[in-house]
Structures are given as C-alpha cells and as structure tokens.
C-alpha cells in the first residue's frame, strides 16, 4: 500500500470525519461497561411513568427509558457492542470467504474459475434480505448464527471484485517470472498476489461493515436477529415499534445510531477507495 495513498486519505476531510465517528463507535462499544450510566438490563421503578409508559429523555435518564423502564442510553451503548461484534465477525468471515474464492477462481481460471463465478451469479439472483431471512428462519437465531447468515449473504460482491483484480494481476509478467523461478501455487497466491490486493480488500471490508450493520439491524427489526436480552439497535426498535407514536425517542435514537455508524463506514470506505484506487482518481 503506497504511502501516497495514505496521504491522499489524510487530506480527505469527509473520509476523516467518517473515521472519527468510526473511532467513537468502537470506543463506545469497547468501553460500554464504564460509559453506561446504568445496567442495560435493569428495570427501574422510576424508569416508568405512573401510568406505566416509558419516560422521555430527562436529567436522570438522558435518552429516556424503554417499555420495561430500562435506560435507553445504556442499552444503546451495549447495543454498539452487538453491532461491532457482528460487524467484525460477520464481515470478517464474508471478506475471508470472498477473498479466498475470488483469489483462487481468478488465479486458477478455467472451469474452476468459471464455476465459482457462475455460483456468484446465482447468489446475486437472490435478494440478500430474503435469503438471510430464509436462513435465519431455518436456524434458531443467536448472535453467531446471525453473523454466519450475514457472512453467507455478503461474501459475493467482494469475491467478484477480487476475482477481476486477480485475473488482471495473474496475467502480469512478474507472476510468470515467479513461476519460472520455481514458486509453487501457494507461494504465488499468498506472497505475490494477495499483498497487491490488500488495498481493495481494505476498501471492501470497510464498506462491508456498513452493509453488515444495516442487515443486522433489519434482521433484528424483523424479529429474527440477535435474541433479547442482548441489546441490539434494530432489536430496540422492534420491541418498541407498537409504542413509537407515544415514545418516538425509542425509534429515533437507535435509528440515528444505526445511520451514523453505517454512514461513517460508508464515507470512510469511499474515501479509502478514492485514495487507494488509481482508476478512480480525478472523479
């Protein structure tokens, strides 16, 4: 990865702003136990009004409380952990699967490469959410199942990008030279090809986290995501959906949190692409 790429990225103010929000999100998730004012699962007596409905934002509960009188701010902070774990695990798995398949298909070419690429065509024909829903409905959802479902749906795009780049790289002379010098397939794949693909992998991994966070939120909103009592942003909205007219903060704050994190990763990934991908320059 050229140092000039990083310099270009450092000059991109929008990308930097995205990175700052990403940083805040990661710190909030990691430090949730110390930052959260209350236990996210504790149901406060004073967290509900006399009529038993959730309390709007107030000095005691900064972002208000939910249907069970739990502190929304604490739940959002712990919910960030869920999003972060899913974002890292699910997206990490998707990137790993996509990179391996794209790399091998692009390097091998022939019928093997063709078969892998036809399989990605097939996967592209499934609406991502419906496929995830079908999978999540079949397996009883837990944090790890949800992560695996998302990975199974999201690896396709990165596989196609890596395939295209690998094909171009594999035709270059230095690969032929390495082969002539006696390098084996594994050495060519991991020493000569993979390092050149790192910028692309980094860009797609960053953009992929945004997609992952959105998909997790949507699955949780449909009631087939991470199981309660684990707080998740989409799940908080799912639980409070029928009360949102009287308690709009229960939709508004988690909604803002999801949007901010997805937007931040998208802006960061976009800026990385501009900085690292020479074909995109000057646009």
């Amino acid at each position: 990865m050229a140092a000039s790429g990083w310099k270009r990225f450092a000059r991109d103010r929008i990308g930097l702003a995205g990175s700052v929000v990403v940083g805040i999100f990661v710190v909030a998730a990691l430090a949730a136990p110390w930052l959260a004012p209350y236990d996210p699962t504790e149901q406060f007596f004073e967290g509900l009004t006399l009529e038993g409905s959730p309390r709007p934002p107030n000095p005691e509960f900064w972002l208000g409380t939910d249907l069970l009188g739990r502190d929304l701010l604490s739940r959002l902070l712990y919910g960030a952990r869920t999003s972060l774990i899913i974002g890292v695990v699910a997206n990490g798995a998707a990137v790993a699967i996509g990179t391996m398949l794209g790399l091998i298909a692009g390097y091998a070419g022939g019928w093997l490469g063709g078969a892998v690429m036809r399989f990605t065509d097939l996967m592209m024909a499934f609406p991502a959410l419906l496929l995830a829903i079908a999978l999540a409905a079949i397996f009883a959802p837990s944090l790890w199942i949800v992560a695996m479902v998302i990975a199974l749906v999201n690896w396709v795009q990165i596989a196609r990008v890596i395939y295209t780049e690998t094909r171009a790289l594999a035709a270059r002379e230095y690969i032929e030279a390495a082969r002539a010098l006696g390098a084996g397939h594994a050495r060519i794949l991991f020493v000569h090809l993979l390092p050149h693909l790192l910028p692309t992998i980094l860009v797609w991994a960053t953009l992929g986290i945004a997609a992952t966070v959105l998909l997790e939120a949507t699955l949780s909103f449909l009631g087939i995501g991470v199981r309660p009592p684990t707080p998740s942003w989409g799940g908080i909205i799912f639980e409070s959906q029928s009360y949102f007219l009287t308690a709009p903060w229960l939709v508004f704050f988690p909604g803002i949190a999801i949007m901010m994190v997805a937007l931040a990763f998208n802006l960061m990934g976009d800026a990385l692409r501009d900085a690292l991908d020479p074909t995109q320059r000057g646009r």
């Binding site: 609406p127 959105l214 909604g255």
Partner: protein, 306 residues
C-alpha cells in the same frame, strides 16, 4: 441479436434452475418436519406416514427434486403450513400491491436521484457537490424501517397529511413509496453523478457548448440522454434491493403485498411461503436483469451485444 437473445435466455434459465436447487436444498435442512406441520400435533403415526407418502417425501432426494421442478413448472409453489392455501395463489393475489409500490418507489427514486445527481455533476468539486453526496450516502445508510417510521411519525401522526397505514388510494401509496425512494434514491444520485461527469467530459458536449447551445439543453438533450443509460440497467438490478426493502416497508405500513406476506410467514415459520417468495423474487431479479440488458442494447447501438 437473435443469437444473443437465445444465449441470454438460456443463461437465465440455468440461473433459475440453480435458484430452485438452492431453495430445494434449504427446505431440506429445515429442522422442522413438514409432514408434522401439515398433519398437526394430534395426528396418529399412520396419518403422518400416509401424508409422507402422499407428498412423496419417502422417495430418493433426486426424485423429489425432479417432482419439485415439475410442480414449479406448473406454477405450483406448494402449500402454506398455516393458511393451508396454495402459496402460488397467495403470491399472485398480492403481486398487484407490490408492483404498485414498486412503481411508486421508482418514481421517487428518480425524482430524488436525477436532479440531485445532475446538480452534483454540474457543480463537481464544490461544497454543493460534497453536500449532495453526503446526503445521498446518509439516505443509503439509513435502514428502511427507520426512514419509514420517521416519515409515519411526522407526516401521518403529527401533521396528518397521509393515512397511517393501509391500501387503496394514492394517499396510502405516498409514504411507503417515498421510504423506498429516499433509501435507494441515494444510489441513483451517486450513479447519475458519476455517469454525468463522464459524459460532460466528452468532446461533443464541448462542441455543443461552443456552438452556443443553451446550458439547459446541453444538459437535458445532449448529456442526459447518454448518462441515463446506466440508470436503465440499474432499475433492472434494483428489483433485488426493492424486494428486500418491500419486506420491511410493507410490514411497517401494513401494505398488503408480497413483502408483508413474507414477513407474516417469518413470524409463523411458514417455510413454504418464505421459499415461494424467495423463488419469485429471484425469478424477478433474473428477468429484470435480462430486460435491462436488452433495453440498454436496443437504446444504445454502441453497446455491442456479446
């Protein structure tokens, strides 16, 4: 052209076959036994066995797949576990509502995406361009259900401009269609911007400007006509994103379409409906892509059909 059409159709059929293989395989790894779901809890072992034989579930897997394909070819998507009706009938009865929603969504996507993208391309590199791009990214970064619930709260609950939910009039269509339009309009804006930037660089645009054509008609007549092509292809690709969005938006707005059908099926673990909807949506995507490619190749003679 004829040979191309045949090749593309053959590819589409192959992909659809692959799709059926996957939905068939999925219905096999389901932990729940479909026979028990149909027979109910109080059924005797003999009844369960006879239903299993009736459904042919005691035959080898490839035979079952064969008959599954045969049934699909006849438009039979199986029976709902819960409602005991034909899945195909349920899907067909809800198709019009979803198609209407889709038309409304495409309208808003273009109404938001086209002007925003053109403006950003014309003001490339300025604060206006950056602002539009950030806002369009924010649009695609907000989940459909958040946009939908916020629109409901403001326009239906606080201001009472539109009904809270339901189906039947144009007023019912506005909010769900706008929800999808806001979320996907951002992609259109970005796409149109980069496609416009590309076109505005071309020599013929400089020529048009040099001969004194008004800027307005340079943009609309000369540039947009070429820049719009990727958008046509994109609407075809959009069907997949749309179907995913429809599940969420239809459940938020109580819109009686295929998405709501799928959502209700999820809540009751009615697997045949989930599989049927997935299959229908996949078929829609394959056909949408094919159609988009054909339209682009017809409109633009430069696109050589390979």
């Amino acid at each position: 052209m004829g040979r191309y059409l045949v090749r593309r159709l053959a590819a589409a059929v192959l992909i659809l076959l692959g799709v059926t293989a996957i939905t068939f395989a999925l219905s096999f790894i389901i932990p729940a036994d479909p026979v028990r779901m149909i027979a109910g809890r109080s059924a005797t072992p003999e009844t369960v066995e006879s239903i299993r034989q009736q459904l042919g579930l005691d035959r080898p897997v490839w035979e079952q797949y064969g008959s599954y394909l045969l049934r699909l070819a006849q438009g039979d998507l199986g029976r709902s576990y819960v409602q005991k009706t034909e899945v195909a009938e349920l899907v067909w009865s809800r198709l019009p509502a979803t198609l209407l929603l889709m038309a409304g969504a495409i309208f808003f996507e273009l109404a938001i995406g086209l002007p925003a993208g053109i403006l950003a391309a014309r003001k490339r590199g300025t604060a206006a361009d950056r602002g539009i791009m950030i806002v369009s990214f924010a649009g695609v970064s907000t989940p459909h259900f958040v946009v939908g619930l916020l629109l409901l709260y403001v326009f239906a609950y606080l201001w009472g401009w539109f009904p809270m939910s339901g189906y039947g009039s144009l007023a019912h269509l506005v909010l769900p269609a706008l929800t999808l339009g806001i979320a996907n309009g951002g992609w259109y804006a970005r796409m149109i911007r980069s496609s416009m930037v590309e076109v505005l660089r071309q020599d013929y645009i400089r020529t048009a400007r040099a001969k004194g054509v008004a800027e307005r008609s340079v943009i609309v007549v000369h540039a947009l006509r070429n820049a719009i092509l990727p958008i046509v292809a994109m609407i075809g690709l959009d069907i997949g994103i749309f179907m995913s969005g429809a599940v969420v938006v239809e459940s938020v707005f109580g819109w009686p379409g295929i998405g709501q059908l799928a959502w209700q099926a999820i809540q009751r673990l009615d697997i045949p409906i989930i599989m049927g909807v997935t299959l229908m949506a996949a078929a829609g995507i394959v056909l949408g892509n094919l159609l988009a490619d054909l339209i682009v190749s017809l409109v633009d003679p430069r696109v050589r059909l390979r």
